[in-house]
Symmetry: C2
Subunit: 398 residues, 2 copies
């Protein structure tokens, strides 16, 4: 990679290279985040290399340089990393010790293992947030169902939330527990269990920022994230009627977390907005995130483009919105497998609609794509996204 | 491909397919237009297959499904076309008879050979434009230098323009001729030579439209195209101070040409705006075109996305601008091969800058990328594009 710091060019003839190869960004994981990061990297002329489980993976379908292999195997990772100028991630599941081994081999890993562990282990994350004074729901590690009941008693009673500290996403690994009896399942996996109070929140927000190794950071507008059955359904950018004070607090919090944890790349801080006007950290994600998909069509620089720029330590792009309102709605698999046919209706009905499909087979409930809409009238923008997502899924037919 | 026409979906259980494979778009030619078309196709979930001369070609670097082969060889084309739902093009050089053979094999070719021949052969183009009453510079095929001198005498004297009817692009195959003596070179290739009057123009414009097999068409705003040494340097969208009447004429002309010639996909009509307030057709291009690169960041739907939608006969996307002014400047190769290092300065100076590089080795004068800038103040937008293009090329160092 190019050295940062001088921002200039050497004089002609001063050992200037005759031919320069653009850097190679290696991405571990072949999901839709890798697919869209590749898409965003094409205009930069960088080379993109993918480590994917299968050639049918979302990103593997569209990337030229794909290695099929298991990210849990260190030899595979090492072989993949050879020739990459930096390694980054589609997901947070690569074992911490493997990341340390890659760093020991001299490969920049961004975000690095010391940062990433906070997105991998909810126990480590909560401890760190407490240490830096970032607001969390009340929480502690609990040993068994009886201890969970004790935690409930300490915090005002059931219901409480139990989470396995590792391995959860999109509502998996999270239990809404109303009694000691219901508290048994989370302990079956043999992974430490974190108890959290059930927060009295009015809505969920996300504060998304991107930070470079150089320390530059940009903050996207704080968005509202609407969940259905624990899965993100719709994101509104910016969050409607959010007080400027709370929006500023959320952005500053995300920037501070990124700095304190040493995050490089995109950081999503999922937040609760409480009924009494506070924000509490729900989850952290250190990669492009569903709550940032709106930026593809609604911001000057998308989260994917800025993630690439950050991991290469290039100056970051403008994160500001291009339009008053942007709405993202996820497209989940439904009863109809033929989403392509649905394009006819959706595109004809709304020529401004932006469809982003992931190349995945349709399975009920699976995230297979998303749509973005934008404009000046929020109700209209919401309606258009809702209609397209529902029509593509097949829950409406006109 | 999905049948067009009903826009609806069959009832559940009515022979509905269990699993649908998105269509395969086969693109012949591995240049930057294919690269950017692939980028634009990723969100649609379509499959993109490339026929490229070399694995180092611009598009071949970023596409997963690449066939390396020679588009002039019919067997290669046929083998490539197998499994494609439609064939389209990065360039206009595929022999007409090969395209007819593919059509005879049952493969949709878009644009088809009967349309494409008008972009391949300037003699055929001029004859057709005359036939449909589209305004051209005065012109005729000339037999030799003496005949060229006779044409000059008929049209007010030298200088005149001579063009070989096939094989030219970016100023190649075009001669600015001041005398009979200078008129010899064009005849050396043994290709018919077209003579055209030297038009007294105030500037060059381009009217870009996209048309689907279904007959739907959308018109982008008419742009101003500034050339340097016969190569497009900067495009301003929309063309500043263009009279609404002339803009409307240009759009209608492009739509009429597309319809009369049966164009499918993106059509660029390069125009002269004459000193006496007329428009004359300079060239036609039936593919995404340099004069449409601004749409990537400045229009609701890019020319690349609409080209893909057109060749698949999907409803077209909104062509309107998202912002008052967008400027595209080409990045040509210069003395400095290391354009990546120049990113540091360009990105830090202008966080709104959009860089589009093609993955090509730098050679002096070669188009290796472009930049887009946009905003409300045209002077500022022009300055930013100029600065970035010059800095990337290395003609300025601060």
């Amino acid at each position: 990679m190019a050295p940062l710091g001088d921002g200039g060019r050497p004089a002609r003839g001063a050992g200037y290279p005759e031919r320069v190869t653009f850097p190679v960004v290696g991405m571990v994981g072949g999901g839709q985040l890798a697919r869209m990061t590749h898409e965003a990297g094409i205009p930069l002329g960088i080379k993109f290399k993918l480590l994917s489980d299968s050639p049918q993976d979302s990103a593997a379908q569209v990337v030229s340089d794909v290695v099929i292999g298991d990210y849990r195997d260190l030899d595979t990772l090492r072989e993949f990393a050879r020739g990459c100028d930096v390694i980054t991630f589609d997901h947070e599941h690569v074992p911490t010790e493997h990341l340390r081994a890659l760093e020991a081999d001299g490969i920049p890993v961004r975000p690095g293992p010391d940062a990433l562990v906070h997105a991998q282990d909810k126990g480590v994350m909560r401890a760190k947030l407490d240490e830096i004074g970032a607001p969390s729901p009340r929480h502690r590690i609990v040993a068994d169902p009886a201890d969970a009941a004790a935690f409930a008693a300490e915090t005002g009673g059931f219901p409480i939330i139990l989470k396995t500290v590792r391995g959860g996403y999109d509502g998996k690994g999270v239990w809404f527990v109303r009694s000691e009896d219901e508290a048994r399942d989370p302990f079956l996996a043999g992974v430490p269990v974190l108890a959290e109070e059930k927060v009295d929140f009015v809505r969920e927000l996300a504060a998304n920022i991107v930070r470079s190794p150089h320390g530059q950071a940009v903050a996207y507008p704080v968005v509202e994230s609407r969940q259905v059955d624990g899965v993100c359904d719709t994101v509104i950018a910016p969050a409607p009627d959010l007080s400027p004070d709370l929006a500023g607090q959320a952005q500053e919090l995300a920037l501070r977390i990124a700095k304190e944890l040493g995050v490089v790349g995109h950081l999503a801080v999922e937040l609760f907005e409480t009924r009494d006007g506070r924000i509490l950290v729900n989850e952290l994600a250190m990669r492009p995130h569903n709550s940032g998909h709106w930026t593809q069509d609604g911001a000057v620089t998308s989260q994917f483009a800025n993630h690439v720029r950050a991991v290469l330590d290039l100056p970051l792009g403008d994160p500001r919105p291009r339009v008053r309102w942007t709405v993202m709605s996820n497209v989940l698999g439904g009863d109809y497998p033929d989403m392509y046919r649905a394009y006819l209706h959706c595109m004809a009905r709304d020529p401004q609609l932006k469809i982003h499909m992931y190349g995945k087979d349709v399975k009920p409930g699976r995230k297979v794509g998303h749509v973005n809409t934008y404009g000046d009238d929020l109700d209209d923008v919401l309606d258009r996204a809702r209609h397209a997502a529902d029509y593509l899924r097949g829950t409406i037919t006109e």
